[in-house]
Symmetry: C2
Subunit: 345 residues, 2 copies
């Protein structure tokens, strides 16, 4: 026996490794727990419609910077990113709880701004704010939201339902939120070095809007229902296309082939990526915060999907042994990794 | 129009005033929202058994001090205090989600300790951990937990159901958690002034245990059910007896008379209060963190209550115009305020 206490840095595991480590012995025992840890949301059964529950915490200095993120936008975004997880289960949100911690540098008027954004999101997404907790904090703002929603049980989608041959789709353009962030960060740094400089946002309202005021795609969940489409698997794009494709492949036991040429990027995003000397596809793969839905569908549903506006088919699911790959516009095949993609062979 | 931005300090409103302010325009619109903001938990209806939802955030430096709060106890307590809110609705917990934010001073081994406490609480209270969020933080530890539970709809209890003439009861002794905290704080300060001093916890395992490892009274919810008692109103004692009695009176539109002589305090708590030159009843009224249940019952249920072990009758509900008062052991009447009580007349 040694007195020395072992100390493993959490960074050695990474976020997903840490979650796996902390939940490796976790086991759901209640019959009312239909699905526990491991998807965008948990699914519970209290005898009526299934209850879909998801929670997210946003921290100042980690997830947002109040230097360029207005409090009203922050309130809206905090709700939207939680509801996005409900949408990823093909469910519609009904209620949220909102807990906050604030230091005394926040005034009542500042909180009013934050809650104006929260209530605006509640109205737009048709959810009730039903509870929460209000705390002091020594430093910084913390927002923790839990969202609850539902859909018919047979319509709920999981990360695990994709099969080889399924088509891979996304509900909107990618990379813009990340490029919006790059502009805001650049202007912040310029301003910090010289406060006399006025920020130049280059009229990039679209890119900056995608970063500061993302929308959860409740409209898409309604459209799926109307069109009669039940995706075979679904996830929302919070960490970037690469990370989310890998999550679906891991949970479903499949591979995937993403075609670079089909990944939707707006012209503004393409141009801004080049201006920042970034590869546009890398912004889509690794940028994150687009909050579009990534889903797979049975190829027999292709006729339905073709009638649905705003759906982009970006590839297909393959056997697991074929790996998770990107086919570039030049026809090269690269392995997709959590960081984006790397050259193989 | 003035360019000057109005700035109201949040402390001018107080916690409950701030919550009232931030939720004054909030309105639940979904038919599935049976009860929104304003009780220990929200109550939702998804077509089966009612869903009781509560959320609490715990912050390092505000709610806990890692200098004397072991991480395993902290994990346990974080779950217990959330489940206590579910109990306050006369419901039993089924699931929790746990979100944390940690700075890099926390090792994987430290988190293992925290989660050991969380999982121990899950086993003891028979709940499943079904989701959460793991985040980096610049400084300090944040834990945000949401608990879900249920009971038959007609058995749920609210703060608002008390009537004049109802008896007022509590499920256990009060003040001990606060006195445990006083010992821990005193030893911390001694240690900070001289690290060579060994902390002297005076064998006060009971008081310190009440502070560091409180229990949620799921056993009492089960006992109510077995005995056939449905309280007319209920709340858990997190902020102190005074604050909770006032909450019930405000929500129910009643007054109350609490008899000092009947408020249960353990001998250890009485003695330690005197040692700290504190009035023992003030520790019970204002100390908080006892996590006992405070409830009211119809006087016709008195025969049932007399058969139930561990229930203390501490007073009765009165008409609102009689106010919320404490009758001291000397027979004097004092008005109960959020801070404890004050001399009247």
């Amino acid at each position: 026996m040694s007195d020395k206490v072992k100390r493993t840095d959490v960074n050695t595991l990474g976020e997903f490794g840490l979650i796996d480590h902390l939940t490796k012995t976790n086991e759901a025992k209640h019959p009312s727990t239909l699905l526990g840890v491991g998807d965008d949301a948990a699914v519970l059964d209290y005898g009526g419609k299934p209850i879909v529950v998801s929670t997210d915490m946003l921290l100042e200095g980690i997830h947002f910077d109040l230097m360029y993120c207005p409090l009203k936008h922050l309130g809206y975004k905090s709700v939207a990113v939680n509801i996005s997880d409900i949408c990823a289960m093909n469910a519609l949100p009904r209620q949220i709880t909102v807990s906050i911690a604030i230091s005394n540098r926040f005034s009542v008027e500042a909180l009013d701004q934050l809650y104006e954004g929260i209530y605006t999101a509640c109205r737009n997404y048709d959810v009730d704010l039903v509870g929460g907790d209000t705390n002091s904090n020594l430093k910084g703002l913390v927002i923790s939201i839990t969202a609850l929603g539902t859909n018919q049980k047979e319509k709920l989608t999981y990360r695990s339902g994709a099969k080889p041959g399924d088509i891979l789709c996304v509900t909107g353009d990618l990379g813009a939120a990340y490029l919006g962030l790059q502009i805001l960060e650049r202007e912040k740094q310029l301003w910090q070095s010289n406060p006399a400089i006025q920020p130049d946002l280059e009229d990039q309202a679209y890119l900056i809007g995608r970063q500061l005021k993302p929308e959860a795609r409740t409209d898409m969940v309604k459209l799926f229902d109307k069109a009669g489409l039940i995706p075979t698997s679904m996830i929302d794009i919070s960490d970037g296309l690469a990370s989310e494709v890998l999550h679906i492949c891991k949970a479903s036991g499949t591979g995937a082939l993403v075609e670079e040429a089909k990944v939707p990027l707006k012209d503004e995003a393409q141009l801004m990526a080049l201006k920042f000397k970034l590869d546009p596809i890398t912004c889509a793969l690794s940028g994150g915060e687009d909050y579009e839905l990534l889903f797979t569908a049975d190829p027999k549903d292709l006729p339905i999907i073709r009638t649905m506006p705003g759906i982009f088919i970006i590839g297909e699911m393959t056997d697991a042994n074929q790996g998770v790959n990107l086919q570039t516009v030049n026809g090269n095949i690269h392995e997709i990794t959590a960081q984006g993609w790397k050259h193989v062979g």
